[in-house]
């Protein structure tokens, strides 16, 4: 029996899931789900071929955006969107700093912690657009409803991340300040906030960005901003105007990402 008859051994990378039964069960399950899911997607081919021409018009609209036809609406919508973004971010920060401090386990008593955590949970689980629909029904059409929506959404986002940062801080400075006999407000102002300030600034800038993007969405349900203009343009199949608006949104998001990158780089 010579070694030449032994089958050549070939190395294989280890599989992602070690248990073979589980591996094959998952594969079969995934294949079954895919078949069922793809089977339940109804595709109307006639409508698709109709839409093809429109799709091409949209793509060509992107290459030749039309800024002039709806310029006044675009300016009005952009002013609404930008002012809504700024005011709602400021309002959101003002509300979420106290809530974020309250939701940090290490600086507040337990009951306060639970109250603040539940506020965050409520704000995070409701989508912007659903909140916007309800608020438009309550305070009427226009950017004010958008402002309320975005402020509400900002609270859940900022407070949660701020609370997590506060829970991660170095306890030594807090301890040192407590040792001087400082009251609780001084403890927060001199021991906690300086440690999280750069992160808070970064998060606020990031949220400013998100709020601008969201301000384009809430307009679709009547809460003011560039979304309303965009909705009108698409409803009338004016794809070149729609492309112009989308290009403006992308440009503003890119510019704000660049600027916030610069600011964060300087603060760090």
């Amino acid at each position: 029996m010579s070694a030449a008859h032994a089958p050549a051994r070939r190395w294989r990378p280890p599989p992602l899931i070690a248990n073979p039964y589980l591996r094959y069960a998952l594969l079969v399950g995934a294949a079954l789900y895919l078949a069922l899911a793809l089977g339940s997607v109804e595709v109307n081919w006639a409508r698709l071929s109709d839409g093809w021409a429109r799709g091409l018009r949209f793509v060509s609209g992107f290459l030749e955006p039309n800024f002039s036809r709806r310029w006044d609406d675009i300016v009005q919508g952009m002013i609404e969107s930008l002012t809504m973004t700024v005011t709602s971010t400021v309002m959101g920060i003002a509300i979420s700093v106290p809530i974020g401090i309250g939701a940090a386990r290490n600086v507040v008593p337990r009951p306060v912690y639970y109250v603040c955590r539940s506020i965050i949970a409520v704000s995070r689980s409701l989508q912007e657009i659903i909140v916007a629909i309800l608020l438009v029904a309550m305070v009427g059409f226009g950017p004010f409803a958008g402002f309320l929506t975005l402020s509400f959404a900002t609270i859940g986002f900022l407070s949660k991340l701020l609370a997590e940062d506060i829970e991660d801080i170095d306890p030594a400075p807090v301890e040192a300040i407590r040792a001087t006999g400082a009251p609780w407000p001084s403890l927060i102002a001199f021991g906690v906030l300086p440690q999280v300030a750069p992160r808070l600034l970064g998060l606020s800038l990031y949220r400013l960005d998100i709020n601008f993007r969201e301000s384009a969405v809430v307009g679709i349900v009547g809460a003011g901003g560039i979304g309303a203009t965009l909705n009108t343009a698409i409803d009338r199949y004016e794809f070149d105007s729609a492309a112009a608006i989308l290009i403006l949104i992308i440009a503003i998001v890119m510019a704000s990402e660049y600027v916030s990158g610069l600011i964060r780089g300087r603060v760090k």
Binding site: L48, S125, Q127, F147, L230, I250, V253
Partner: protein, 272 residues
């Protein structure tokens, strides 16, 4: 850190110099002034009577919303299945499309830093800047209303998200392992498969599951613009002012979101 001597021979510590103090105050003043200006511009057209009336309106709607119309639940099962499909198939399509984009955008794997990389980065930014509901609005106009528009909208929005996080993960890999594989005489494709892919696999799986979770959330409202799923029922219930149905739909959406968040947390915990 400036220290000023007080007349009694004591010394007082302050955090900033007087000049720094003024600069900081001036900065705050500008920020406040700018915010107030924005507020004034924004509220120009606001009809305050409606705003002050809001608590009454809220109480009125709240009263109409209870009790939820439980008998409507069976009609929601098919839309719920559609919603799940929009999120899952959309995420799968996005994964397939975003992997090449991520490899083209990562500084260490792109074929050309000067030409291909900016293009890939632009694809990522464009996809990320536009919310999935706006993509859906466009696609409903192009493809017609239905689940397909929703799937494509979710996919288009997710390319940017997955692409961005994945290319950052690729840029952070340990070059030593790639070097080692290359030193064995491996081809480009083999280096990719044995040097780079195993290193980014956990991040990739985590990102995909995370995006799936977000997509479930987003696909529940895509129907508002006609792109299929449970949002269609929400839209029609809102339009007919059927508030008890709205309550039930919102509860179902909330439950779906909570379950998907739980699943995604479990899976990510198992992977990482």
């Amino acid at each position: 850190m400036p220290v000023t001597a007080l007349p009694e021979g004591l010394r007082s510590w302050q955090r900033r110099t007087p000049r720094g103090q003024i600069a900081v105050w001036f900065g705050w003043l500008l920020a406040v002034a700018f915010t107030v200006f924005c507020w004034r511009v924004m509220t120009q057209g606001t009809i305050w009577a409606f705003v002050w009336d809001a608590p009454t309106q809220a109480a009125d709607i709240g009263a109409r919303m209870v009790p939820p119309r439980w008998s409507y639940f069976p009609a929601l099962l098919k839309p719920l299945w559609d919603t799940l499909n929009i999120a899952t198939l959309g995420t799968l399509a996005a994964i397939v499309l975003s992997v090449p984009v991520a490899f083209l955008a990562a500084r260490n794997t792109t074929p050309s830093v000067a030409f291909v990389r900016p293009l890939a980065l632009f694809v990522i930014v464009a996809s990320r800047s536009i919310n999935s509901i706006i993509w859906a609005l466009l696609l409903v106009a192009i493809l017609g209303p239905g689940v397909l528009a929703g799937i494509v909208a979710i996919a288009l929005r997710s390319i940017g998200f997955i692409g961005k996080l994945l290319y950052e993960a690729i840029e952070e890999i340990d070059e030593g392992q790639v070097e080692a594989i290359r030193a064995t005489g491996a081809s480009g494709a083999q280096t990719l498969a044995y040097g780079i892919v195993p290193q980014i696999m956990p991040a990739f799986a985590g990102i995909s599951v995370f995006r799936w979770d977000i997509n479930i959330r987003e696909s529940t409202v895509l129907g508002l613009v006609g792109a299929g799923g449970i949002g269609l029922n929400l839209e029609s219930s809102l339009n007919t002012l059927a508030w008890p149905q709205v309550t039930l739909i919102l509860m179902v959406i909330l439950a779906t979101v909570v379950v998907s968040e739980w699943v995604s947390a479990k899976v990510r915990h198992a992977i990482i």
